[in-house]
């Protein structure tokens, strides 16, 4: 027997394949198991990547419409849905194919199939209709999550879609109802609205993007008022019935009366459920909590010492980049390194138009924890770059520790927020102070200057926004 550790990774999403690649790079013998032809998981096949490809097109459509304000008028765009779909599919194919290549280069065994636990070291792998048992020293569970259902809509169909079906882009429905005002609902709603659907979003709570700071959401809410047919807050769907001519939906709550009742399609985007069942975990000591998440420690180790779990199956936030980081931690730990999952800031991005992004501490959370913080908010109306982009409704904010001036959180609403947020993550992880940011030269003219000026604003010293300090 060789000393090489045998590691299996179940699930080849951004967590699973990152873990597998890391484990292979660290000299272990790795088997990666996933039902798809190539690694990628939900993120590449049915999530982040295809949705961003379509959102790019949506942005283009919206911006070209806006161009009439700047003296350029386009005719109404014609959408060749087949071509759009195949472009999106090409993007997916290219990236997942690339991951397949990277797997081969790392000489890891990729099995297109599924796996269940026989015991803590044995997996029954089903591939090509054959079942075989394999032994491993360590197993990383990276099975991810799936779209959640609600009691009145327990099955997805072509008319009652989940995010996966909606990304398949079968057609552009005339009337689309999006159930859930979270990031998936808003992103998909943006895509379909831009392509010509009349989109209604229904959300149970009193605001879009529950959990995010309201000042950021406000920027988005204003814009989607124009983009969407209607946004029904504090309203609940009480019944859904598929009919020949569409989906009949009953509402209750604030906007129950003035809501339309018949939709061509419904997108259910009410969250995601961890894939922690049907894996034979009962044959191991792995523990699952009451929400279905696999319990892990700081090193992502489950209650079964040789089994690790990463990504969506371990809990919120269910984000690809969190899973990737966890996967690399788990692989390092298996390799005997002293790694731990202890992020100070996990960025969250909503790729709507405009984008909303935040990381670290939010104002909402700080209030909940009774922390003494200072908040500096810089309106993009004072940014030259925002003006030249016609994006002056954005805002950049910093959440600062009142005692030490350390950056604890950052939030951005506006064009390119997703690209800008990384600076906040770095600042928080590096324990930078607001002064550190203010004293770092940011390039002009860019939106990144708004971060620098937000920091300056904290001391009443922003160049482009005059707000004298209270004396």
């Amino acid at each position: 027997m060789s000393d090489t550790k045998k590691v299996a990774v179940i699930g080849a999403g951004p967590g699973g394949y990152a873990a597998a690649f890391m484990a292979a790079d660290l000299g272990m013998s790795v088997t990666l198991i996933d039902p798809e032809v190539n690694p990628g998981g939900v993120c590449l096949y049915y999530g982040c990547i295809p949705s961003k490809a379509l959102l790019h097109v949506a942005g283009l459509i919206n911006e070209s419409a806006e161009a009439k304000n700047w003296g350029v008028t386009f005719t109404k765009p014609k959408v060749n849905l087949d071509k759009l779909r195949s472009w999106k599919n090409d993007v997916v194919l290219k990236l997942t194919g690339g991951l397949g290549q990277l797997s081969k280069q790392r000489k890891l065994t990729y099995i297109k199939g599924t796996a269940t636990f026989v015991d803590n070291t044995t997996l029954e792998i089903t591939s090509g209709g054959k079942k075989t048992n394999h032994q491993f020293d360590n197993i990383i569970l990276a099975t991810g999550s799936r779209p959640a259902t609600i009691p009145i809509a327990q099955k997805f169909t072509s008319r009652i879609m989940d995010s996966t079906r909606s990304l398949a882009l079968k057609d552009i429905p005339n009337k689309l109802l999006v159930i859930g005002g979270g990031y998936i609902g808003l992103e998909m709603g943006t895509i379909y609205a831009s392509l010509g659907s009349k989109v209604t979003v229904v959300e149970m709570t009193d605001g879009l993007l529950p959990g995010a700071d309201r000042d950021l959401v406000k920027v988005l809410s204003k814009r989607v008022e124009n983009l969407f047919e209607a946004v029904l807050l504090e309203t609940k769907v009480s019944d859904i019935k598929e009919q020949k001519n569409g989906v009949k939906v009953e509402f209750e709550g604030k906007h129950a009366k003035n809501a339309g009742k018949l939709y061509d399609r419904v997108l259910l985007a009410v969250g995601r459920t961890p894939n922690s069942t049907g894996l034979g975990l009962e044959n191991t000591k792995v523990k699952i909590n009451d929400r279905g998440f696999v319990q892990v420690d700081e090193q992502r180790r489950t209650d079964e010492p040789n089994i690790f779990a990463i990504g969506d199956v371990t809990g919120e936030p269910m984000l690809a980049h969190k899973a990737t980081h966890e996967g690399r931690v788990a692989a390092s730990v298996i390799a005997g390194k002293t790694a731990a999952y202890e992020p100070k800031a996990i960025p969250a991005i909503v790729f709507t138009d405009p984008e909303i992004a935040w990381c670290g501490l939010t104002e909402v959370q700080a209030k909940k924890e009774n922390r003494t913080i200072k908040v500096a908010r810089f309106p993009w109306a004072a940014s030259g770059r925002a003006a030249s982009l016609g994006q002056t409704d954005g805002v950049t904010k910093l959440i600062i520790d009142a005692d030490t001036d350390r950056v604890l959180g950052m939030g951005i609403a506006g064009h390119g927020a997703g690209e800008l947020i990384a600076e906040g993550v770095l600042a928080i992880e590096m324990a930078a102070t607001a002064e550190d940011i203010g004293l770092s030269i940011h390039p002009h003219p860019t939106l990144s200057e708004t971060i620098m000026e937000t920091a300056d604003l904290l001391y009443g010293l922003s160049t482009h926004y005059h707000r004298p300090q209270k004396k």
Partner: protein, 443 residues
Amino acid sequence: MIKDIKIPDIGEKVESGQVVDILVKVGDAVQLDQGILEMETDKAVVEIPAEDSGVITEILVKEGQVVKIGEVVARIDTEGKQQAAAPAEEAKPKTEDIPPPRVETPPVKEEARKPEPVMEQPVQKSAPIPKPAPKDSAPPKQPIDIPASPSVRHLARELGVDITKVTGSGPGGRITSDDVKHFVHHVVEDETVVPQASMTPSNMPDFGQWGAIERVPLSQVRKLISQSTANSWATIPHVTQFDEADISHVNAFIEKHKNTVAKAGGKLTVTAVLLKVMASALKKFPNFNSSIDVQNGELILKKYVHIGIAVDTDRGLLVPVIRDADKKGIVRLAMDLKDIADRTRERKIKPDELDGGTFTISNQGGIGGTNFTPIVLWPQVAILGVSRTADRLVDEGGDIVKRQFLPLSLSYDHRVVDGADAARFLRWVAEALESPLVMQLDE
């Protein structure tokens, strides 16, 4: 009449302690001086006795709770009678439901000459150790409250440093890699923190990966031993000198006088005799009865001889001290030895009685072994280890006779004592055991 049972003053330096065991429950009839509860202080476990006879009416503390001197821990009805079922009991915390954390062992006979199975005690698996009251009620730090970059946190993990303990020198209290390195140096220099740093879980492998494990909290005594030995080991350049003494005459002496001593309430043993011999040796070789003050460049010579005796208890090693051993005769030393060893094992030793030793004797003869290298109990400078007497045939002027030899190990602080001095010291001890008149040569 209902009276308060308070924590009495148990020594000048002790202000509080943790309740480790409650020995009575509501409704129990107790006698004067009967133990009510056991309290663990920084130095020892102390039994708090009832100051009156009567029936316990109320218990006001729980296991794990920290109590102060003078605090009322229970109430007693001095005229009460034991009730079959105490009604008040229901409302009180059911302390008796919590299995005591300590492991009961039969009282070990002091200075057992026969090999007794004094092995390590098995730890009770099911006993949930009551968690001590948290000293600091501040919530645990979240990652965002630790002002260190990911690479610095990684460095800390690699070095086994608890980053929450490191003070940052940068803006906003940011912790740099230098701060972490400095912390490590500081810990190595600061003797008292050494054992804690070496016990941080982060530099431990995860033993669970190789099979089932169980984690058992260290008792206060164990923690103190761990700190004290690690401190001694880190501070003192140890050397151990071996020798042996023919104690055939000593054994004959013990045989002859043991009944006399027993009548006086003592027990005549090799250790008792050794106490006398060592006390004389320490007077003859004062450097062995000293402490080194490195900071001031001085040797502190002690004009008193207080000898500590290593006592193996169910809680671990404790070292009670026999005061002024040089001023006492063998009978008195034998009495003191039995008294102090018994009380140590019965958890009745007072914290003060563990303080102030100038030299230590650790006798493993009752268990066995040929030799061992004891660790000097800092700030002392030497310790005598004693192993099992071995019979040996000796050619004595043509006659082959059986003699009993006692193996002696002297560990010493080389900063204070040189090898030749140690050899002379231990030889003197051996000769004094062989012919006690040696002790009188200079007097």
